[in-house]
Amino acid sequence: MKMMMIHPNRCIGCQNCELACSIAKGTDSSLGSSRIHIFTWADSGVSVPTVCQQCGDAPCVTVCPTGAMHQDPNAGYVVWDSDRCIRCKMCTQACPFGDAVYSARQDVILKCDTCQGDPQCVKNCPEHALEWVEDRQSTLSRRYSYAERFKEPLEEL
């Protein structure tokens, strides 16, 4: 199953992902439709993307009174159903990451749905800070660079 892996160290804060998401998902032409959000600290040059983590035991699902927020077993992500939603906004309070956002103007919950498994933000990231990878491969690069640290000292022995 594929999942989103974020590498904040690679993020340059270009916001291409936000534009791509708004363009792909926006229903009323406003750029304020992005489901992914970038925070940049100008003093340190650090940028961090945040987006719905598609939790398995999702607080937003637990708290939803109507089942509008629910797990889609086939898709493998948390789905928001606009027709069932009563806009109580409990999900926005429950999400520990703050990535379920209520937009009053559009009257929708802005929450990532992985673009049906073909995320546009990933495609538009020039730095590969966002990756769409198989679950067991998601931390491959980090495991590999850690393991690589042993290579040289062990070679010398």
Binding site: E18, A20, I23, T27, D28, S29, S30, G32, K123
Partner: protein, 701 residues
Amino acid sequence: MGTVALTGLNGNDIVITHQCRVFKRPADATERTVNIVKYDITHNSPTVMSMAKKTELKLVEQKGKPKEIPPQYPIKTSSIQKQAEARTADTLAQKCLENCMLNGIQTAWDRLDLQKPQCLYGLNGICCVRCTMGPCKINPEHDQTRGVCGADADLIVARNLLDAIVTGAAAHSDHGREIVETLLKIGEGKAQGYAITDAKKLQSLAHEFGIDASIKDEKEIARTVGDAVLEEFGSRKEELKFVRRVPPKTLALWKEAGIIPRGVDREIVEAMHRIHMGVGADYTNILLHGLRTSLADGWGGSMIATEFSDILFGTPAIVKSQVNLGVVKEDQVNISLHGHNPLLSEAVIRVAGEPELQEYARKTGAKGINLVGLCCSGNEILMRQGVPIAGNLLNQELLIATGVLDAMVVDYQCVFPSLPQTAACYHTKVITTSPKSIIPGSYHITFQPENAEDVARTIIRAAIDNYSRRDPAKVFIPGDPVTLYAGFSAEAILNALGGTLDPLIDAIKKGTIRGIVGIVGCNNPKLRQDHSHVILAKKLIAKDVLCVETGCAAIASGKAGLLTPEAADMAGGNLKAVCKALGMPPVLHVGSCVDNSRILLICAAIANTLNVGIHQLPVVGAAPEYYSQKALAIGSYFVASGVTTVLGPMPNIGGSAGVVNLLTKDLSKAVHASFLVEPDPEKAADRILEIIEEKRAGLGI
């Protein structure tokens, strides 16, 4: 998703056909919202789709008896073949491209892949880098709703678009200026080897410019006309001279809209003025001036270039020649003439046949000197001299990769700065000839009318000297050339019809020819090369629509065999009958990109005969694969003249709903024509046919 009807929506909506969504401005919006048109960035790039998974190049091991492989053909992997097929529909280019990919020779396609994913600010025109208070971008997500100066998305997009249009207009107009300056030099006796070829046209233009008819000396006429035409570039006139050629009903629309062009350079300078920070902020006002500037190109700079090139080098008549990468010859010195201005290429053609140079070539072991054209320079010498043409925009690097190109001689426009890099893999010498167009890594020799022939001889000698430096192991000629017919200037078409446009107009009235479509413009590596051009032309002629083509589009049709009388078999029954009767192709090669002015004149002639405005004619424009700023200028002057134009690639304006609306809808209130964006050539054909029928209904035919 799919096509959404234009009716029934309020004026705040943007509607783009195919693969796009309808965006509605919310009724209760309190702050300015930015309307973003969805631009499907992956649609136009099959290469991105196929490269999404990086495929490894592997030599496939052959079990059993080893295949005999000539040294320059390592075994192709199917992924390279697939990639080449996805990149271009030109079969010879496919083979050349496979060869390049195998040998690690970078092409424009590769560089596009490296650039992806492209910046969405740039793609939507909401990036402004003009002044040092910036750079600015629009992104309400971060409260960036205005640039530092206060420019909103509409203004930033409008300024960027105006810049593109006038850059294109400037290119055409500067080219036109150089032709007129050469005419002046002929008048002063200082233009080596140049002469008046179409004296009748010079007389006719002298009359048009009100030159004293008593002047009989050709040189004096040349000087006087030259002086008068150079005035067109200045600030003294209220309107360009050629505005008198515009049908009165079209001119009335321009007067109402305030877009009658006054001076070629003047409009461009005013446009650049308006692009400066703090000069107005009304996108409609800004873009109307953009239209005016484009008209100063179409009915100004470009028309001047065409008319005076005809005077200097001859008005084209129907000519038969050959096209595609296979026009190079292994046993001859191959010289390609690339760029746009026929001043250079005509001089080279003139001297190439000289006995000394022919002998010099033979001494080196070559059977002769083979001149081939590329892009619009190629089109100019094809139209007038029947010189074979090697290809269009995306063929320029591939031509070097045939390994038999001894010199790539260029002047300006559409010449990739990467050519010396490609040439370095081979023996080819890239030779630049204009001080306006110098490329690091190439050779330069400045070309002027005063010493044109001497320079041409030097260039040819350099190419002949280079012949022996060919590496036989790198020779790769991908196939044989095909036949095409070109030279369909307005005068040639008139001639073929017996001296009057009446047969054509009658056919249109009767409906045996439903209408005329001008397919123009470039290649773009974001789209499969030549694919849209050919599909569009084939679909239109099958419905009895006559196609007139210029530039890279015409070359694409040529490669596909559409520019031959035999291609009439692909046309609908009525058009086929007309073509067979006249022995003409169903698709007419009208010339280079400045020769789009020929299409304007044909439209004007038909409109004047029917006593209507150009916007009432069943005539539509299409630029299915354009890339350049020049193409945007051409599209603008066609639309401003009343010819609705369908673009393939979306221009970088998606960030402003206002600008998109203006171009696709509101413009029609002023000039009764507009732009459409439709990347799918089949759908574009359908829409064009609808528009043609609407126009016919309007005329009652």
